[in-house]
């Protein structure tokens, strides 16, 4: 029998659907195992409380403290999520099957980064109300602007973090290496983001933080492109 008769209908799904499918798969797994998200959530709430008590509120108001706490939590809870991103692929070599399939490498990267992005944003959506609550910050439209800054920062964080997670997950000291390599790369994200959110939380108008936002956007554009391009090199061939 000729080989051609063998095949079922083959309809390639395309980049977007591949990306969404992979992201969905990662998120379902995370939802069912709940390991990283719970750790991140607990870490977030604990940090909010502990920071409050380590600072002398006579010299520093909670309004001054809040942005710092927000971004510390952002960085470290992000790392918690990134760690497990490739762990699930390596446990039973699911990544081998994925790479052997028609799905493009760019889609694998984008799918995982998207799942990490949702994770990071989910943690922040928990953290921000917690901060508002415990630090008695007023509600207001500025929170939407802060959320916008969080989203932009999250894009940069997950791009670099997903790439580095891919690089380090197969090495000996992966749990130490990932934070060690990634944190210096998070600095150009966190500085503009913290500066912008400090201004916003102090009630400054959005116009004043546009400069920082532009810097964040520049970082995002450069590193999303660079990390997507570099990702195939982290896979053995």
């Amino acid at each position: 029998m000729s080989p051609a008769a063998l095949k079922v209908d083959y309809k390639p799904a395309g980049f977007v659907r591949d990306t969404l499918r992979i992201a969905r798969k990662d998120l379902i797994i995370e939802f069912r195992t709940r390991s990283a998200f719970f750790s991140a959530a607990v870490f977030a709430v604990l940090s909010v409380v502990i920071f409050r008590f380590t600072w002398d509120t006579a010299s520093l108001t909670t309004g001054d403290l809040a942005p710092g706490v927000l971004w510390v939590i952002f960085t470290f809870s992000g790392l918690l999520g990134l760690n497990r991103s490739f762990g699930i692929e390596l446990a039973d070599r699911g990544l081998d099957a994925l790479l052997a399939s028609p799905v493009s490498r760019e889609a694998v990267f984008a799918g995982k980064a998207l799942a990490n992005f949702v994770f990071v944003c989910a943690v922040q959506l928990l953290t921000m109300p917690a901060i508002a609550l415990f630090y008695n910050l007023p509600a207001g439209e500025y929170w939407f602007a802060v959320l916008g800054v969080v989203v932009m920062a999250a894009i940069g964080l997950v791009s670099v973090g997903t790439l580095f997670a891919a690089m380090t997950s197969n090495t000996r000291m992966s749990e130490l290496l990932l934070p060690m390599l990634a944190l210096p790369f998070f600095v150009p994200i966190v500085i503009p983001a913290a500066q912008a959110s400090t201004s916003l939380m102090a009630g400054r108008p959005i116009d004043e933080v546009i400069g920082w936002c532009k810097l964040l956007a520049a970082f995002d554009i450069v590193f999303v492109a660079a990390c997507t391009a570099a990702f195939p090199f982290t896979l053995e061939e």
């Binding site: 290496l177 210096p184 970082f219």
Partner: protein, 243 residues
């Protein structure tokens, strides 16, 4: 059945041309030059009026900073990109050597700087653009070398290091730009400023001699490090064949 026809990928011409047990003349020259410049800067160069004797750290600090950033780290990033393109293992060894020797010089910068800063500005540290960039560059280089140490297989190590090296190359301008927006009290460039240099000719000669000595020292260390990397890789390949 052993694979008798296999040969290591390192050619004979690359193996060290030094005589075994021979003296590394370049390194000797470098150390002599370094000693000479030290003597000159401490004894024969006038003491700067405003900053006092601590200003002499300048003769170590500035050349080390220029060399580590422009001669080491940028070429290391370029070598990384080129490795990804050409896959030549020599490029990986070059990148590795540049990074490690660059780290040594960066450490000199970061240890000499605070002493100078304490006497001049009154503080050990400032979070201005230059210092922060230097500090983070130091961290990423340490991370680069730690990652190299964590990967045993040579091809994977070279490939992942090259990716990291490229990312580091992209990172540095961003750190600099980010921190630049903060007010800085780092001394403005003295030599490369458009106006006339504000140093006396004596100091200028000392500085330039110091540059020269540091360049020779850097070259000597780099060459030794590269040869050591070549020997290490060769030994690894020979061991793999015997296995």
């Amino acid at each position: 059945m052993t694979s008798a026809s296999a040969s290591p990928t390192i050619q004979n011409s690359e193996r060290s041309s030094e005589m075994p047990g021979g003296i590394d003349w370049l390194l000797v020259l470098a150390l002599v030059a370094f000693a000479a410049v030290t003597v000159r800067s401490l004894v024969y160069t006038p003491i700067e009026v405003r900053q006092g004797i601590a200003q002499k750290i300048f003769y170590v600090h500035v050349p080390a900073a220029v060399i580590s950033l422009y001669v080491s780290c940028i070429p290391s990033a370029i070598a990384s990109v080129m490795y990804l393109w050409l896959k030549d293992e020599r490029l990986d060894r070059i990148a590795e050597s540049l990074a490690e020797v660059g780290l040594v010089f960066l450490t000199m910068v970061l240890t000499s700087g605070p002493f100078w800063g304490k006497t001049t500005w009154g503080t050990w540290w400032q979070w201005d653009a230059r210092l922060t960039t230097t500090l983070f560059l130091w961290f990423v280089l340490v991370g680069y070398l730690v990652m190299r140490g964590a990967i045993e297989e040579a091809e994977a190590r070279a490939r992942l290091s090259a990716v990291l090296g490229t990312m580091i190359g992209l990172l540095v301008p961003f750190i600099h730009l980010t921190v630049y927006l903060f007010p800085t009290i780092h001394p403005a460039p003295v030599i490369l400023a458009p106006q006339k240099p504000q140093m006396s000719s004596e100091m200028l000669i000392t500085l330039l001699s110091s540059f020269g000595a540091f360049v020779v020292l850097y070259a000597a260390l780099l060459r030794r490090r590269y040869r050591w990397a070549t020997a290490r890789d060769l030994q690894q390949q020979l061991e793999n064949q015997r296995a």
